[in-house]
Amino acid sequence: MTHATLRRFALPDVGEGLTEAELLQWLVAVGDTVTVNQPLCEVETAKAAVELPSPYAGVVVELLVEAGATVDVGTPIITVDTGGGTAAEPPEAPQPGGLIGETTANGRTAVLVGYGPRSTEARRRPRRTAVPEAAGPPLLATAPDARSKPVRHGGLEVGRQAEAAAIREDAASSAAVAPGRRGPRPLAKPPVRKYAKDLGVDLAQLTGTGPGGVITRADVDAARTAPAPRADMAISAPRGEERIPVKGVRKHTAAAMVASAFTAPHVTEFLTVDVTRMMKLRRRLAERPELAGVRISPLLLVAKAVLLAAARHLLVNSSWDEAAQEIVVHGQVNLGIAAATPRGLVVPNVKDAGRLSLAELAGALAELTDTARAGRTAPADLTGGTLTITNVGVFGVDTGTPILNPGEAAILAFGAIAERPWVHKGEVRPRQVTTLALSFDHRIVDGELGSRFLADVGALLADPGTALAF
């Protein structure tokens, strides 16, 4: 039997001073053999999405964090068996180097850039001449006020002594006072303090599980999710309310929607259209040899109709420039498609979509939505949109009143296509019908223009041959 040498890789600070990252996806699985610098996973920080290369060569033993989780810097994320050891060893904290805030084997603490002081009290060599504790730190004239924050002067003894004194003071007071009460100021990082304050959690009531008794985010979470049970509540255990932190795409979407809804005066118009002919055309197009392999979706034809109609009504493809008090009529249509993704709503856009042939547009749409669903949309694809379609029909609903993508003048919601009784050539027939909803910014698009544009889109879908007249 070969002996395993297990090594753990902890999440490093890949930017300058980042404290956490979201693990987007694993690029390796348990049992995989990895080489040094082989990408292990992709993480996204506040600054960038990057791949983390393996510091070790060996076999992946364990993935310690699931994809999608937000991980604090310094948390071990993977265990690799590097083999070749002489005896089975327990997993080590990352031996070489160290991560921000973490103490390495040689006692140094990694700070934002590089490595700071050895601050572990236990590792310090004792002074030859015993200095009585009561005498205070030798370099300080007076004992530091335990309430004052210890200052780290890049390894100067002043900071360490003050800190050590503060910790001693802390330990003494927590021993002296009643359980549940800690020292003058509970130890926690500023983001954790803020987090606790936002949630109404009193840090003084918590016991930190972090290094040196520091209260971590997880401690705050634990305190929040495990409230002290009350006798009158013990009878039934109703499902408690869940609080979902608003962040990432959801946060961005929320801000964008509020901004849009309260700056652009929205008007929404509806049009119900018999799209039976469009659906027939769709089947005929699919049979054409030059479109072999191209997915002719209803959304594609709606997109094409929107592009044709937008070319007739240029103002629909424009923006309101509040600062300049001007309307910016865009020279090209960057067609946005609202896509539901695991990470939330994103609206990637096809640049200069008006210039694309049907096959090119189909390709661009497919790529856009696939990329968005895989969560890999490049930021450039998310900016610069000028006109948007939201395909609410895929969820089986008839229509909606869409909110404008910020900065755009119009958005078209495309509802479900369903067979309905419809008067066709003087008789009630089952026909394929859908409802279009167009929201527009009334500062730019007035009722007449909006109506004409929507009617044009409707006409193109009801009778695609109308395109010849455009």
Binding site: F9, A10, P12, D13, V14, G15, E16, V36, N37, K47, A48, A49, V50, E51, L52, P53, S54, P55, P94, P96, G97, G98, L99, R108, A110, V111, L112, V113, G114, Y115, R124, R125, P126, R127, R128, T129, A378, P379, A380
Partner: protein
């Protein structure tokens, strides 16, 4: 060095001439650049330039290839080490190898170079051990080399500040009557800094023996050059009163020829020159940066076609100056270097605490000596003796 002297006049003279096939013409989506000095096209074709004749031996050509491959491998390893938590940050030189090696190899022994924080290729050319650069980015020291021994100042993080140091140093060289030149490195973004402009005013006024070598990598972090300057950067030199040249920064031979000529002019007392090495930062500004937020992938793809290493490799193989065994040998050497850098970085020891007293002054002063002695005594007061 009349070639460089005449650059400003030549610009107007050239207007009427038939320029022939223009440098940059072969590269897609790049405007033709009649003023671009190029000796090796992106396709690896050797050109001659009337003002910049270059004699270069086969061994030197192979040496440039080796230099660039090794430096690029070092850069890749450093980037990976940062992602593994072993470096605080890393500024990648990917794509700028030719600009840095061409300029670095143009320097002579007595010359002095003042780098920014990205000049790993110049450091290599000056014989600086890569681990001495790694120690800076690991936060162990401020750079482990001796500036005077290597003719290479410590990295300067403050944007553009090194230009003042370079001009001041050059004025000192001038007053010493020494036969050496000074090479100041800067980026395109630095040209907007006050210090850089002040340095150029002084350099021009005193005809200081300094060459300003600007690697225009197109972005000041995320700000594209067109937001920084309404004129091509090399033309700014005319306003200060010295010549400006634009050279293909991805062409190691052209960079060598142009920089050599400018340094020679400086040594001969003809004053400063501004060189704009037109290049591209293929990677992120630093490991803290995400370039996909401000530039399009197709732009990077276009510049890949102008890769500095690929064009020299094409030239070497096409003209039979190097064979597969040579290229394989360089690759193996690169891997070995990467391994040495990795081990050396991960196992890097701390400098002794007393090292902070070294190099503060040219000569140790009595007060500093006293402080050092007191500190040593204090260290010795711990059990186990002085560290």
């Amino acid at each position: 060095m009349t070639a460089v002297r005449n650059e400003i006049e030549a610009e107007t003279d050239r207007a009427g001439d038939d320029p022939g096939p223009l440098p940059g013409a072969g590269a897609p989506h790049l405007p033709q650049q009649p003023d671009l000095v190029q000796l090796l096209t992106p396709e690896g074709e050797r050109l001659e330039h009337p003002e910049y004749p270059l004699e270069v031996s086969d061994a030197e050509l192979r040496g440039f290839y080796r230099d660039m491959v090794l430096v690029r491998r070092w850069d890749a390893e450093a980037t990976a080490l940062q992602r593994q938590g072993e470096l605080g940050i890393w500024a990648s030189l990917l794509g700028q190898e030719a600009a840095q090696l061409g300029a670095g190899r143009a320097l002579q022994d007595g010359d002095m170079a003042f780098p920014t924080y990205r000049e790993h290729g110049v450091a290599w050319a000056r014989g600086v051990d890569p681990l001495h650069v790694m120690s800076l980015f690991r936060g162990v020291d401020n750079g482990g080399w001796h500036p005077r021994e290597r003719g290479f100042a410590l990295y300067t993080i403050v944007i553009g500040a090194q230009c003042l140091h370079a001009t001041g140093y050059a004025m000192g060289v001038q007053r010493d009557g020494a036969e050496s030149a000074v090479l100041a490195f800067l980026g395109d973004g630095a040209t907007s800094q006050g210090e850089v402009n002040e340095a150029m005013v002084f350099a021009a006024s005193f005809a200081a023996p300094v060459v300003f070598f600007c690697q225009n990598n197109q972005y000041a972090i995320s700000v594209p050059l067109e937001r920084q300057s309404k004129v091509p950067l090399y033309r700014r030199a005319a306003g200060f009163g010295f010549p400006g040249v634009r050279v293909d920064g991805n062409d190691v031979l052209a960079v060598l020829a142009v920089t050599r000529a400018a340094l020679r002019a400086a040594r001969e007392g003809q004053g400063p020159t501004f060189i704009e090495a037109f290049t591209y930062r293929m990677g992120a500004h630093t490991t803290s940066d995400d370039p996909t937020r401000y530039r399009l992938a197709h732009e990077v793809e276009e510049w890949k076609l102008r890769d500095p290493i690929a064009r020299l490799k094409a030239y070497l193989s096409r003209s039979g100056l190097a064979d597969a065994a040579f290229f394989d040998g360089v690759e193996a050497e690169a891997d070995e270097l990467a391994g040495r850098i990795r081990r050396g970085t991960v196992e890097m020891p701390d400098p002794p605490p007393t090292a902070m007293f070294d190099g503060v002054h040219a000569e140790m002063t009595p007060p500093l000596a006293a402080q050092r002695a007191a500190f040593e005594a204090y260290q010795a007061s711990f059990e186990g003796g002085a560290a």
